[in-house]
Subunit: 353 residues, 2 copies
């Protein structure tokens, strides 16, 4: 969750300059024969416009899965990892999990009334969204610990399930789970259809995402890697064993924590990695440092009309969402990572469009 408050302002001109060279860079990566094969992905990537991003995906899959290819990858090794917030679904103006935590505060206060007059709970109870937007990392950590831990795993799962089925995004008035990017669902399915095992690797809570990952992304709980808290074994009155969520962070699955989480949970270096911010940078570096064909992609939120255009350059608060910095863009350019322009590369963004 570090990205919530850790970003710094950046220079708008630098970003704009960087963006200007985008088509040139990606275009140079294409071979003519590869371009001719775009059609082969057929309807699998139907929500993608023809262009360098779609082409990079198709080329990668062909290079790693066609028998006899010099960059062929054995099925068991085919691992693809996806950041969630801002890569698979909308993260603006606030991570859904943070919304969940804020929504849970009244229940926590009802159970522990002494918190009512203690910050940051007092502010949350006041409903003052403007004041909440100014929360420090320490405030957020207190809210996260109070709302995500101290309860049996099964109770937590039931609460999240109930919330995720009813809570709605204020702009689209739809459940958060409908605000997943259709083109990314298509990439995940296309990769799976070609023998890839797809994983979510999120800075968000592993247990939170697991509740809906299968239904929403077709990714089972065991293929969700996220920030992990400890659990404690206990026994109920009948002697039945159960686990309680503890306020103990075992892994902050963000920045350098992403490769660490990948090693811990998967044990192999991915061949493809998708992200959208500096929190994903190390995951893409780790993926790209492997031998053979590797696919590293970054989603750029540059579509203010259909979704959002954000980052400090757009004048939006950098404290709310992951940041695509000029430095990250420079690294992408230097290392041959592909930047996906939401505006240019995506025919449609949501399945309901």
């Amino acid at each position: 969750m570090k990205t919530i408050v850790s970003s710094r302002g950046i220079n708008r001109r630098t970003l704009m300059t960087a963006l200007a060279v985008l088509p040139t860079m990606s275009g140079s990566l294409l071979s003519l024969s590869a371009q001719a094969q775009t059609a082969a992905s057929g309807d699998a990537l139907a929500s993608w416009n023809d262009g360098p991003a779609k082409q990079a995906i198709v080329d990668f899959v062909k290079a790693t899965t066609v028998q006899g290819s010099p960059k062929y990858v054995a099925p068991g090794e085919r691992i693809a990892t996806f950041d969630q917030d801002g890569t698979l679904w909308v993260e603006h103006p606030m991570y859904s999990q943070v919304m969940y935590c804020l929504d849970r505060v009244p229940a926590v206060v009802a159970r522990k009334p002494e918190l009512k007059n203690v910050e940051p709970f007092k502010t949350v109870m006041s409903g003052n969204r403007e004041a909440m937007a100014k929360f420090t990392m320490k405030d957020l950590e207190a809210i996260l610990a109070a709302t995500l831990t101290g309860m049996p795993v099964d109770d937590f799962n039931a609460e999240v399930k109930k919330w995720i089925e009813s809570a709605k995004d204020p702009r689209w008035k739809r459940p958060y789970t409908e605000l997943v990017y259709q083109p990314m669902l298509e990439v995940m399915k296309y990769l799976r259809d070609n023998g890839y095992k797809t994983y979510i690797v999120t800075g968000g809570g592993q247990d939170f995402v697991r509740v809906y990952s299968e239904r929403v992304y077709g990714i089972p709980p065991e293929q969700v890697v996220g920030s992990m808290g400890g659990t404690k074994l206990g026994y109920d009155k009948e002697g039945n064993a159960f686990l309680t969520k503890e306020p103990k962070l075992l892994l902050n699955d963000d920045h350098a924590g992403k490769p660490e989480g990948i090693h811990m949970m998967i044990g192999r270096r991915p061949y493809a990695a998708f992200g959208n911010s500096v929190g994903d940078q190390q995951m893409l570096e780790y993926t790209g440092a492997g031998a053979g064909a590797r696919l590293m992609m970054l989603l750029l939120h540059d579509d203010a009309k259909r979704e959002y255009a954000y980052g400090p350059a757009q004048g939006l608060p950098a404290t709310k969402v992951g940041v695509f910095t000029p430095a990250l863009y420079e690294e992408a350019k230097k290392k041959g990572w592909t930047v996906i322009s939401m505006k240019n590369d995506w025919k449609r963004i949501f399945s309901f469009e």
Copy 2:
């Protein structure tokens, strides 16, 4: 690794009494119709003698996988977990991983000569096995930290691969990986053929077991849950990202750590769990506390001729291997767990027999 040195002496009479009622207990769990179906497992469990243990496995698979069964389990939920040392392969007289660590000490001392005169390294270098057998938990931890951490993940994997392909068990004069129990390989395959995802859940090092798990057990690295250490991201001269193993324990995957590791790595409660010692007790309790049909099995090492008969009752040092205590046996009896007698239930133990 706690089981190496944490056991206490037990009363031989208590264990013998407990063992005496074994056939009665397991027999009472059988229904006639289930007995009639044993043949249906066909050759899948060819190394098992007909009896309550084999029957329990077949009954469980039928109950959970036959469409229309009241205890039917959807394929995605079919999770089976297996302890490794003493459950899937020989653990006596010493865990293979401890053998690996002892074998690695000379290389560590060559790199850091100052350790030559420091205990416990001095004793290891002396080759005095008798003195090594008296190592305390603290001694072992120092050896484990020195030999399993402080190197890049890729180097570690290469070292373990080299060792596991050449090191041999002193009794059978065969690689450790040939000392896996053929009946357990059959159970794992039988479960997989019936839609179960099989996991290793070991107190041993997760990274260590992952090196050979696919080749030996047909279990890919991402389905190995074990004691986990932290890693640290770094960059080589060319700027390529890589991970180094750190001497920081994130999870001791033994005793209560097993359910915790299962939650962290799988996120669902298993339907079947196999173990052989008090270190597996909580994993079986956690599995058994779930609704519907659950299979909990404990392997009893009671075959001194073909493998080993051990535990304090047999006069063997309790400090060396996992312990099947009378209390554990009592719990198995009370909760309807099935005890596998190596001597009576297994037609053959190793594939080379």
